[in-house]
């Protein structure tokens, strides 16, 4: 039997839905004692600016996970959207690199894309990027909900198709010379707070509102918990699933804007290795891979933990291989703790 203090610890720390936040903060405080500059303003800005693009992706993934799906195509959507947006907005293209492009002479020229040099380049470019992301999500959603194809297969094929299309569209070239106002979205900051924070804040507030205060939000959980019961209860399950995938694509568009802007280029290989970070952060945050469970602030906590982990391992000056091993072990430990917590909750130990 646990003592009273032990029970309190388990109830308010281990079993709390904010457990990952507590863990992150504890991790940060302890490491700050040993790692120089860990708590410096500049480093906190670094962690913060690294977090928000990943957060956008995890929020999108969360919607798909809640309805019991999985979106493996997010990073390829990001790359595809990145090159589409950059092709529209760029103000200069090197003929030596792009003259073999199928769009050369029609949409692309030495003076850049169709919006190159225009004041509308950034707003129109951003809107198009978001729409393209959502449209790819729509294709995924329709394939899963209407055609009853397994989400794993659908999004795996999307991942390959749109990843390949991004490379084909650019012939592997990165597209530079993006408008300064677009680059500022990823690089600018107010004091120590990056602009990307405000974008993430809007995204988080909007999604939190949808999940907590709308019928649609309840439908997402309902479909994820039991799709048959939901259908019998009158929930338009197909529409709900499609909307979840559209939102995932939209969020990939948001992340693409943030990553492309901070790298100052449209990149056909953008985020190729990011998928595991996205799913890892979602799972660490407590979002269930089996559907029906997930909250915006859990996604935030998962991303916070991930960003802190990556940052701290860099600050420890470990080799790349060690970083990967340590990262893997910590994710495994987090998953094990999550399983233990769930068992304790089910058994009603406290």
């Amino acid at each position: 039997m646990l003592s009273k203090a032990g029970k309190l610890f388990v109830r308010y720390f281990l079993l709390s839905e904010n457990f990952v936040l507590y863990l992150s903060v504890l991790y940060f405080v302890v490491l700050s004692l040993f790692i120089p500059h860990m708590a410096s303003g500049r480093n906190l800005t670094n962690v913060s600016s690294n977090m928000w693009p990943l957060f956008a992706l995890v929020v999108g993934q969360m919607f798909v996970l809640i309805v019991g799906g999985l979106d493996l195509s997010q990073t390829s959507i990001m790359a595809f959207v990145s090159v589409i947006g950059a092709m529209l907005m760029t103000s200069e293209l090197d003929p030596a690199l792009f003259e073999n492009n199928i769009l050369w002479g029609t949409l692309l020229a030495e003076t850049g894309g169709p919006l190159g040099g225009s004041v509308l380049a950034t707003p129109v470019g951003i809107i198009v990027m978001l729409i393209v992301g959502a449209l790819v999500g729509l294709v995924n959603g329709v394939s899963v909900a209407k055609l009853k194809m397994p989400p794993f297969m659908v999004t795996l094929i999307s991942m390959m198709f749109f990843g390949g299309l991004a490379i084909f569209a650019t012939r592997s070239e990165n597209i530079m010379h993006l408008p300064a106002s677009f680059v500022a979205v990823g690089r600018g900051q107010v004091g120590l707070i990056p602009y990307s924070f405000f974008i993430a804040l809007i995204l988080a507030t909007g999604t939190h509102y949808i999940l907590r205060h709308t019928v649609l939000g309840q439908w997402f959980y309902s479909v994820g918990k039991n799709v048959r019961t939901s259908m019998v209860s009158g929930v338009p399950t197909q529409k709900v699933i499609i909307i979840a995938y559209i939102f995932s694509g939209f969020c990939a568009g948001v992340a693409s804007i943030l990553y492309s802007a901070r790298l100052e280029a449209g990149r056909p290989t953008l985020g190729q290795d990011l998928l595991l970070d996205v799913i890892g952060a979602a799972v660490i945050g407590g979002i269930s891979l089996y559907g029906g469970k997930g909250k915006v602030h859990w996604a935030l906590f998962g991303v916070l933990f991930f960003a802190l982990l990556a940052n701290s391992l860099n600050m420890m000056n470990l080799s790349f291989f060690t970083v990967q091993i340590v990262k893997g072990i910590i994710i495994l430990m987090a998953a094990a703790i999550d399983v233990t917590r769930n068992r304790l909750i089910i058994r009603g130990i406290v």
Partner: protein, 339 residues
């Protein structure tokens, strides 16, 4: 929620306290610290460059913080930012590509940290940096010129093939240009050429080369934009019965750029005719020398482009120049160790 607010407040206060203590307690022992951010260690050239750079820095008593971006430009940017936060005195960068080099150099410029870019140059000069780069076009030309001489000896017209690298990398573009220059200069001996993309990826190169040779079994000359692709070329030529040394009927004239151990070994065995050699020891020496000079002079954004003219190791000059090739030196070092 109240619990969260209390918790966060306590944490923020604790962090501010820690940060304050840290600011006061930071000590500087006077040792220079340099961040070495590289994109990966996939090929022998990058492994040898990594060794040359780290050993040169450490020999000068400099502390080295290594960061492997694992071919992810965003990760490399984050790593460099973290290193800047750690207060490094300088940065040596092997970027993923020329475009990300521009962004990362800009990041270092804004932080006032001198940065040196090794071998893979930024795609434009908008942000000042120390850059060392091989004259890839000229090195390719030198190797191809020898291969053209060999082709002329064969007689008739030969179908040439080039395995190109990632054309987002200026080095790959320049190497391809060197190949073209020699084709243009010798229209009497070459048929229209075939271009095989590799994207600096051995699997892609293997698949594309296999398809190209299948469609064009009469290819008589292959130029690879990097020596690390020789094993894939060998595999494909062997499967078509075309992997033959010089002097044998059906020998495919073979050459490339880099100067690695495989190229050296197969030159000794007579399979490879020529290879353009980058002098990575020279490159690391001049680049790091310039960086240390800039750090000591307190220059935050030094700018200087340095060129490695390189040379071509051919079957004709192997006896005299092999020891200048880094691949040969690595092989000799390994032999000494094994003995």
């Amino acid at each position: 929620m109240r619990l969260i607010y209390i918790f966060l407040t306590v944490t923020i206060v604790a962090v501010m306290f820690i940060a304050g203590c840290r600011e006061q307690g930071d000590s500087d022992d006077g040792t220079l610290t340099v961040c070495f951010a590289f994109q990966d260690l996939e090929t022998e050239f990058w492994v040898a460059s990594h060794k040359a750079i780290t050993e040169t820095l450490m020999a000068k008593g400099i502390r080295v913080i290594e960061r492997n971006g694992n071919e992810d430009a965003n990760r490399q940017l984050e790593q460099v930012r973290d290193a800047i936060t750690q207060g490094v005195d300088g940065i040596v960068l092997i970027p993923q590509d020329g475009e990300s080099a521009v962004t990362i150099v800009g990041e270092a410029n804004r932080a006032g940290v001198p940065i040196a870019v090794f071998n893979r140059p930024p795609s434009n000069r908008s942000n000042p940096a120390l850059v060392v780069v091989s004259d890839n076009e000229s090195i390719s030309e030198k190797a191809m010129a020898y291969m053209a001489e060999e082709a002329r000896k064969v007689g008739g017209k030969i179908k040439p093939l080039i395995v190109v690298g990632d054309l987002g990398d200026k080095n790959a573009v320049a190497r391809r240009q060197g190949f073209y220059n020699i084709l243009k200069a010798n229209p009497d001996i070459f048929l229209p050429h075939i271009e095989v993309p590799s994207k600096w990826d051995s699997t892609t190169a293997l698949a594309n080369l296999e398809a190209a040779i299948q469609s064009n079994p009469d290819v008589g000359l292959i130029f690879t934009s990097s020596d690390f692709l020789y094993p894939q070329i060998k595999a494909v030529l062997e499967s078509f019965g075309k992997w033959k040394p010089r002097g044998e009927e059906g020998h495919v004239i073979l050459g490339g750029v880099d100067g690695d151990t495989t190229a050296y070994r197969w030159m000794q065995d007579g399979y490879v005719d020529a290879t353009g050699v980058q002098d990575l020891y020279y490159e690391s020496e001049v680049l790091l020398g310039a960086l240390i000079e800039a750090i000591e002079a307190g220059e935050a954004t030094p700018e200087k482009w340095m060129y490695d003219l390189g040379f071509a190791l051919t079957q004709a000059n192997m006896a005299e120049r092999a020891s200048d090739m880094w691949g040969c030196r690595l092989l000799e070092e390994a032999k000494v160790k094994n003995d």
